[in-house]
Symmetry: C2
Subunit: 483 residues, 2 copies
């Protein structure tokens, strides 16, 4: 956290102001590079790999959209307000803290009131009595134009995908199964935002909705490509079974080939982010835990210093969404499946990824204090996720070394993310680079002027090798390969 | 426009719903690729080239931010409401249409009332009388948390940059001049949004704020690199002078080296987008036209079928913003200029680019009906901006050509944007690719099976050459170079 604030990874929004609202964070120059590279990786390893179509839609959407999606009715948290000091709390959270047991956020209001009475729960601020439980809708409302038409900031990016599905399917000559992807912001008016990137009111989602023919969930053309992927599955939230995709299917841990295939794509993607896969699991959710639209649900979770953290919600939403939008818009959203010319309302399986949380987890899993070398702090980020790929350091600032270093720097900087640093001892400069995860440091020394070679130092091993300046680009390009 | 809708470039938001609000558009799969590639080009040719720092901040910001920025007071449009039917109009626009002369949007309300009376302007819908002019604030208001704290969706991305400046300057070891860049969404509650991407309520900006020492606007280290750039400048909105940057400075068309340098970077960037630079101009704005915070202003404009279109606002905002935020936040935002250790409140010059409009202009300037070849419709997009770089087409679907084509396709698809098409005659398939601007089409034929070569057809010349499959990647990579 200290590193994040001091090195430009992320920091609170509007921080110079006393009225800065909680739950809003900014990416600084270092963090933004990691974020953009993670998104590139997602595009390459999930979207392009599977031939998905990606769209980018508006964040403000009309009221009808959220009537159809169920968010106006269901996307609420239970709140209680102190009758004396007026403080407001999320009822389920406060109760969980008091009785030491999670209660579902969808527990009916009267049951919550009962628990508060029977447990004698009072306001933590003033010990006052609570009024009855009400529901607080977590969508942000906005008003459009002088006539103040009611609209909302979308609470999940996927609603755009559902509403745009008919046009995209038609104009892009779609075939089922068809993945439609979107990267963008969503907004949730959380009652109690949590620290830094973990529970934000404005956050990035990378969502994929796979539209499929529900009668063909077990005939998937590319399934074999991933059938030997390792998956770690937990059905009880405690123990984990490590199986291949094929074994998971045969043993009944996974419901069908389609779900199995996309969980495998996801696992393969995360194995390339540097997250320690031994500290991850797909947790199968019970009926009480699933979102209101999901009939099968797995959460992809990662173990961190704050416990198990959900990074991706994988939900089989069936035709819940298209049916809802069809009813409210009075449009027929059924399409032709070209494989057998049947007309169907597709079902949907989604991978709903939280980008900010993923970055948090990647940074934490990459963080390393090297006790064998002066407790140096190293972020062991993959080269293709590092904010800066290479530092360029003149050994000293005389004898023409700065000039030579500048030349090398300007040759590399349009293609790669580079950092030029000539201040302080070479050891301190190495430390600064290691802290933000720079995998390579080029040092320009006296020998460079003689034979046009530099030393390239590797962040993790600290080993150095001499490389010709003319081979640097190729060397760096190779390091960016993901497989 | 028809092409945009039919080929997945862009289309209206929430279009299946009757209550879809105007002024919101979506990027389809084809348009999104163009958008992302344009942003990559901006990063390479402006942000990286100049060594700027890029950040990514929240879209919702606290009320104080917009008190300080002046938006709560000044970011308003004059509106008039019909006393009979209740229709609301933007007063300045309605008057301009009636009297055939532009009136500034900042004309005082009583002057507007006077014009409406003296010209006898009545409601266009029902001929009713108008009430008096009022001001409509164009920011979208949102309420945060159960206590409904007042906040706003930012109307320009740069406010994030100003508010974050102190931390970014400090943690990233800043030196003046320092460019801080941001790509993101802004929101303006327009009273009358215009067609498609031209005046949106939710839109993308790519903004750069250059923080500088106002006493050093003529000492710029990299100035010479761009001093021979061609700039087309108009001071009266009618005639254009074409000069080099150096000539513009000497002749007094440009106020100082800093402004001259960044306008040159911008011109150089747009010359790489495929926009016809002969149909562009930097228009110097008069005092009445400038935004409320600008003391020098140039609009970069492009000639299109809807007239001259502003793509970038280039404003010298002086210390207006940092001073405002300093006053309201009661924080001292002055920094040390390391070059002479003086403590100053930096001035700001900005390049505020509209991404959506730029895409509109690029598409329009690339559109070409080839009267010599069956009126084929071609989008002559640069390869590095094309939604798809290469199409892969088996000449026929038998004799193993499909299988061979699929192999080539899967080798290329993770690195490049590809499109596989095996339906219809080869001529029709070429046409489909040309319409969305695909620069290359690979055809797999009988000879391919013999010597592992394919034909590569160029979109613009329609010429074909035979290339070995093993050389394809290098061939395609070379086409993506920007210079």
């Amino acid at each position: 956290m200290k590193l994040a604030l001091e090195k430009g990874f992320y920091f609170p929004s509007c921080e110079i102001y006393a009225d800065a609202p909680a739950g809003f964070w900014e990416y600084g120059p270092t963090g933004l590079k990691v974020k953009n590279k993670l998104i590139d990786l997602w595009r390459r390893e999930i979207v392009r790999r599977d031939g998905m179509l990606e769209i980018d839609g508006s964040q403000i959407m009309s009221r009808s959209v959220f009537e159809a999606s169920g968010h106006i009715e269901n996307f609420t948290d239970p709140v209680i307000k102190c009758t004396e000091c007026g403080s407001t709390f999320r009822a389920d959270r406060l109760i969980s803290e008091r009785i030491g047991k999670d209660i579902p956020e969808r527990t009916p209001n009267d049951e919550i009131d009962e628990i508060i009475n029977s447990e004698g729960i009072r306001c933590p601020s003033c010990k006052g009595k609570f009024g009855i439980t009400t529901r607080f809708n977590m969508m942000f409302r906005v008003e459009i134009g002088p006539s103040a038409e009611e609209a909302y900031l979308r609470p999940e990016t996927c609603q755009t995908i559902f509403v745009d599905f008919p046009r995209v399917y038609k104009t892009m000559r779609g075939k089922l199964p068809l993945g439609i992807a979107q990267l963008g912001k969503s907004f949730r008016n959380e009652i109690a935002p949590r620290q830094s990137l973990l529970r934000l009111r404005e956050f990035y989602q990378a969502e994929v909705e796979i539209f499929c023919n529900p009668s063909k969930l077990d005939s998937l053309p590319f399934f074999d490509e991933l059938s030997n992927t390792t998956l770690r599955i937990s059905t009880d939230g405690l123990s984990v079974e490590e199986v291949t995709t094929n074994e998971g299917l045969k043993g009944g841990l996974l419901p069908n080939k389609l779900v199995a295939y996309y969980l495998s794509i996801l696992a393969d993607f995360y194995s390339k982010t540097g997250i320690d896969m031994k500290r991850t699991r797909f947790r199968k959710l019970g009926e009480n835990e699933r979102a209101f639209y999901a009939s099968i649900a797995f959460d992809f979770e990662v173990e961190t210093s704050v416990g198990w953290l959900e990074l991706v919600a994988c939900n089989y939403r069936s035709d819940y969404d298209l049916r809802g939008h069809s009813t409210v818009s009075k449009q027929n959203l059924a399409v032709i499946d070209p494989s057998d010319q049947s007309k169907i309302l597709p079902h949907v399986f989604e991978l709903s990824m939280g980008i900010d949380r993923s970055i948090y987890a990647i940074l934490e899993h990459s963080f390393y204090e090297d006790s064998e070398h002066d407790d140096r702090v190293v972020l062991r980020l993959k080269p293709y996720l590092a904010p800066v790929l290479v530092g360029i350091l003149p050994l000293v600032n005389r004898n023409g070394l700065s000039e030579k270093s500048q030349i090398i720097h300007s040759e590399l900087k349009r293609e790669f993310d580079t950092y030029y640093d000539d201040s302080g001892s070479i050891g301190r400069r190495y430390r600064r680079l290691e802290q933000i995860g720079v995998p390579f440091a080029i040092t320009v020394d006296k020998i460079t002027l003689q034979d046009d070679s530099v030393t390239v130092r590797q962040r993790d091993t600290m080993q150095q090798e001499r490389i010709k300046v003319s081979s640097l680009k190729e060397y760096l390009r190779r390091s960016l390969q993901t497989s």
